[in-house]
């Protein structure tokens, strides 16, 4: 049996105040008192546990000593939450609070063998992929094959208006035949992503085990018509089986909203390459990121606190993606072996009630798959809350939150431009682009700023952004959040 967690016994978060501890204790003691529960053994036992918990937690010194012995709240992972404010002021209007969640793999994980991969490359071979693009994809694929570890499995599906399985769950070795099959791939036909995805999904599902990192990488340069919805449904199915989908979009024509949706639904990511030369480095990156996963399918299932509402969540590390809220589940992504998974959440706190001591932002549980554990599934409760009261001396908000927000704000500004254009509000969109450019300039992003201004100009003339500019702005502002850049800007 695990040792008693005094906080759990009293149903309190770890940063509970002395008042909260006293209140919780009195309530529990009254409820469990032997006089009220004659002959109830369980209640008597609980009563003793509550006594013991209160004894420790009510004594500041004993509590500090006890706190030092506590493991991280989530077993097997170092977990930390930083809030934008230590204490929320009691005010009669709505207010915002930010929580920055960081999950880090234990240091010992670096010495463990990487988890085996079960991947499928779903490659668009429509006419537009012909020439250089196809050549680079082919040579990169063959190179990736050579990097397979003994337990890895790789499938390859190509699609145009129909799908073909080129490779099904191949393992290391036998490269000669496979390589020549890959060389046989020819571009031609339309782009029907659903067909490719479906075949890829079947392949990954066939070889999926809890020990593997199961993932589909979709490589496309075009738009699919009429089968987006079916594809998204398929992504939901994939999610049920812990299969992630990532998209690599080449050039200007692909549908970024659609690919983003596939990725956010399954905890994957989307990448944008303009020139075929970059395809290789992006695929390499994705491969190594996947094989660096310590935990994957990290999810937060929560019920909104009574007092607050989640506005949005954004993954900052290991890669940068907005996180979609699906019902009450946030699919956060994966924890790399040698880094962390970091997610920023914005909550809108409703006006606080008189005498309220604490507001619960979200409560629920975090679950994840750690393939290297005998039982891969790990579940832990996670409650996000803040005390309400007199704020102490005004301190600077946490630096990493401010920095992340300064960039997320720009990404969201870009997003609103898209919404404005979609609703025909060209004037607002233009103004927002100009604001965006000003901020980018202030941050030294002159090239991106120029692109933004050019698009603002284009917008006024054609009532739309160019496909290329729009993607540059979207992935450019998203790219501002990449860890390297944030660290660069720290003094």
């Amino acid at each position: 049996m695990t040792p008693q967690d005094y906080y759990q016994t009293l149903g309190l978060p770890r940063d509970a105040t002395a008042d909260e501890i006293r209140t919780a204790y009195r309530e529990a003691a009254r409820r469990l008192h032997p006089d009220l529960n004659p002959g109830d053994k369980e209640a008597a036992e609980q009563f003793l546990l509550v006594q013991r918990a209160y004894e420790i937690l009510s004594d500041a010194a004993a509590r500090a000593k006890y706190d030092a012995t506590l493991p991280s709240e989530i077993e097997n992972v170092d977990f930390e939450v930083v809030y934008s404010r230590p204490v929320l002021p009691a005010i009669s209007e709505a207010q915002l609070v930010y929580a920055l969640l960081t999950f880090t793999a234990p240091p010992a994980a670096r010495n463990l063998p990487p988890p085996p991969l079960n991947l499928c490359l779903v490659i668009d071979r429509s006419t537009s992929m012909g020439g250089r693009r196809m050549d680079v994809v082919k040579s990169t694929t063959i190179e990736l094959l050579r990097q397979l570890k003994p337990e890895d499995r790789l499938s390859i599906v190509t699609f145009s208006d129909r799908a073909e399985v080129i490779l099904s769950g191949a393992q290391a070795g036998h490269f000669q035949q496979i390589a020549s099959d890959i060389h046989m791939m020819r571009a031609g036909g339309g782009t029907e992503i659903y067909r490719g995805l479906e075949a890829g999904y079947k392949e990954v599902l066939r070889y999926a085990t809890p020990k593997h990192i199961n993932h589909i990488i979709l490589i496309t340069d075009g738009r699919t018509y009429g089968d987006e919805e079916r594809s998204i449904l398929l992504a939901h199915q994939a999610r049920q089986h812990n299969i992630g989908i990532s998209g690599l979009g080449i050039g200007d024509e692909w549908n970024d909203v659609f690919l983003d949706k596939l990725a956010t639904t399954t905890g994957g990511s989307t990448m944008f390459v303009e020139h075929s030369e970059r395809i290789k480095s992006f695929l390499d990156e994705k491969f190594s990121a996947l094989s660096q996963a310590y935990a994957h399918q990290v999810k937060y299932q929560y019920s909104g606190g009574h007092g607050a509402q989640l506005q949005y969540a954004f993954r900052l590390r290991p890669d940068v993606m907005p996180i979609e809220q699906e019902g009450n589940t946030l699919l956060l992504g994966q924890i790399p072996v040698d880094g962390s998974l970091q997610v920023l959440m914005e909550f809108l706190v409703h006006p606080t009630a008189q005498g309220q001591q604490r507001v619960y932002l979200a409560q629920g549980q975090v679950s994840m798959e750690i393939p290297l554990r005998p039982d891969p599934q790990v579940v832990a409760p996670l409650r996000l809350s803040r005390k309400i009261g007199e704020s102490g001396p005004i301190t600077d908000p946490p630096k990493n939150i401010v920095q992340a927000l300064s960039q997320i704000t720009l990404y969201r500004l870009q997003h609103r431009v898209q919404e404005d254009i979609a609703s025909g509000n060209i004037e607002d969109a233009t103004r927002r682009l100009q604001n965006l450019a000003t901020h980018l300039l202030a941050q030294g992003q002159s090239q991106l700023a120029r692109t933004v201004l050019k698009e603002a100009n284009q917008l006024q003339h054609t009532q739309a952004l160019s496909a290329k500019g729009q993607k540059h702005i979207k992935y450019g502002t998203r790219g501002l959040l990449l860890p390297a850049r944030i660290e660069d800007s720290t003094p």
């Binding site: 930010y98 908000p397 927000l405 300039l441 202030a442």
Partner: protein, 180 residues
């Protein structure tokens, strides 16, 4: 509620950035982020150099008092030249200066339209004046015709310190900063 100093959009308490225009809403003490100021450049010294030629040559300047710090209870006025009309600056610590035109969605705090601003080349959002720790500074907001402090052009998007008595020009429209 917090009102964005730049676009007047209302944000809930606790917001760090304006969701409408991206402006930063919090003041950071000793925290370095992407701010518009460039601390590596000694601004005061540079400013002193720029300012020297103007001193004494301008009768208006000679007459005005130039304190080091602006007292908290003082009111700052913009004196529009040549008409001499005063515009008081109150209730905020940062003011955007520009002109208004039909269909414009962000309005400047200080509207110079009545002073023939359009003909004199003032942009809609031309410059911003900020009062911080008793010091005034001015930033050009990427205007078409530029902003000048005592006839010296300042680069856009960077705050430059100004003092009461200084004459700032937005395009061809000149304004003097005065104090009461």
């Amino acid at each position: 509620m917090i009102t964005c100093p730049q676009c007047k959009h209302q944000e809930p308490e606790g917001a760090f950035f304006c969701s409408e225009c991206g402006a930063r809403l919090i003041r950071l003490n000793g925290l370095q982020t992407h701010s518009i100021q460039h601390p590596e450049k000694p601004q005061t010294a540079e400013w002193e150099v720029e300012r020297r030629p103007a001193t004494g040559t301008d009768p208006l300047k000679a007459a005005s008092v130039v304190p080091e710090k602006i007292p908290e209870d003082a009111t700052i006025y913009l004196r529009v030249l040549p008409s001499g009309e005063f515009i008081p600056l109150q209730g905020q610590t940062e003011f955007t200066i520009g002109r208004t035109s039909k269909g414009q969605s962000i309005l400047p705090d200080v509207d110079l339209s009545p002073f023939d601003a359009y003909a004199k080349g003032v942009s809609r959002l031309h410059a911003a004046l900020r009062l911080e720790n008793g010091e005034l500074s001015l930033m050009d907001l990427g205007s078409v015709n530029g902003t000048y402090i005592n006839k010296t052009k300042i680069p856009p998007n960077m705050y430059r310190r100004v003092q009461p008595g200084d004459i700032i020009s937005l395009g061809k429209l000149s304004i003097q900063i005065t104090l009461e």
